[in-house]
Amino acid sequence: MSPIQLLIKDLADKYGRNRENLLPIMQGVVEQENYLSEYSMVEIAREMDLPAAEVYGTATFYSFLEVKKMGRFIIRICKTISCAMKGKSQVVFAIQDMLKVNVGETTADGRFSLLETNCLGLCHKAPAMLINHEVYTDLTPERVREILSEYMAK
């Protein structure tokens, strides 16, 4: 058994193999792998006795279930109006400049992915972003450079 097969089996044992357990299982794989590869989706389908197309169809519906390879740290910066009004673009430029990637791309070393996302529910502390599950608010180009330096050292 490959490590991913083993992970999926453990998750299925933990949550169950009914259709309503599909999301928790996919989330469990994303926690480990940062994304759902074609291989893991086929394996989830096999483990849960579902058509692979159903698993793929469900995964692609949700923005936190990525189906292409992601970096170790996924930066999701809010682009909705409150954050857009408070200088989100300058923050994105600072990140792009520092990491040398565009929105939607992953750094060559596979450490960072930069994504834009819809409202994070932190509008009173805009602009805001998530790095994996960690929340960062009141961003400025300077502050985001500091935060990323810390991540680069990790």
């Binding site: 309503e20 357990n21 469900t58 923005s63 682009k79 409150s82 509008c123």
Partner: protein, 394 residues
Amino acid sequence: MATSYQLKRADFIFKNENDWEQVLGKILSQNPQDLINELISSELKGRGGAGFPTGLKWKVAAEQPSDTKYVICNADEGEPGTFKDREILQRVPYKVLTAMVACAHVIGAREGFIYLRNEYWFLRNELEKVIDEFEYYCKEINLEFKIKVFMGSGAYICGEETALFESMEGKRGEPRNKPPYPTTWGYLGKPTVINNVETLAHTYTIFKYGAKKFYDLGVQYSRGTKLFSVSGDTPKPGIYELELGMSLQDFVYEFGDGDTKAVQVGGASGFLVPRKKFADTAIGYQGKLTGISLPTGGSMMLFNSSRSMYNVLDNYLEFFREESCGQCTPCRVGCQQLLIGIKAVKRAEKPASYLDKLLRLTETMQYTAKCGLGQSVANSFSSIVENFREEMIY
């Protein structure tokens, strides 16, 4: 005509009361019918934005003959400009859980879920600790009720109740046809009560202090208080609990920066109110006597005169285009075409009169889209285009 209503602050939701065990004990000692009557007489309406009477919802679910029923707390707060539910779950989670246990007692449910949006993953551990306390309490008093946190995976539409059920069932979060309503056919086809986080937190106040206390606040058809998430061009962004029925003018006096050009009430799916209409607009649920009254999930975004309303609309439409589930054609294609359309008008590739065609398209969407998302695109689109037409063109 200005309403003479002043802004009235309140402090119920976030008041820290370390007495949930007494409150819950009192609730569980009453019979379900009395609790339902208490809720109905408080006139509490759903605080997620739709405004369905909460007591009635519990009543219908309680009357269903099914053995299996569910209580679900909708914490998929995704409306742009709304952030109150996160704060409730962070600061007073026990109020929400008390309400869930109360609801389980009333309708006869043995399982409950909190559908928490993926963006709020950081709340999960703390929340699960509080849930453990409640499950321990339930076990002690021999009440069979389990609560689980179900994590969303990033989809605005899953805040729509039937899409949320689909999502919990492991499918794409595509809304179902209604009826049947959740109270008869909800999660896994069982009768389900699904309430917004804030709605549940309000029931704590009602059960603790009595319906009258709640009913005495606010105005006719819009009883009680409401949390408002204030953001945008304001010197004091944050969450404020206010009595319903206030005029938007009073709100802007309090929260504006002196140069407020417009306020978006109810997030991207709500209405944009321009300065000249502040005095005639009240915040509350629609009623016969209240005139122009805007219901809201609590999102209040202020824009000052430096903001381009074209950019605001462009941002909303991009949001809707991405978050439309794609299931029904009016919404899927409509959102795309609206965005393409306003860009074309802005670049002068289409004449200004094209905006009227787009307005007719939003009208069609309002009538034909399957769920609230597609239907409500017309709200912000028409209120922005009609009030700031010149900004759309030049």
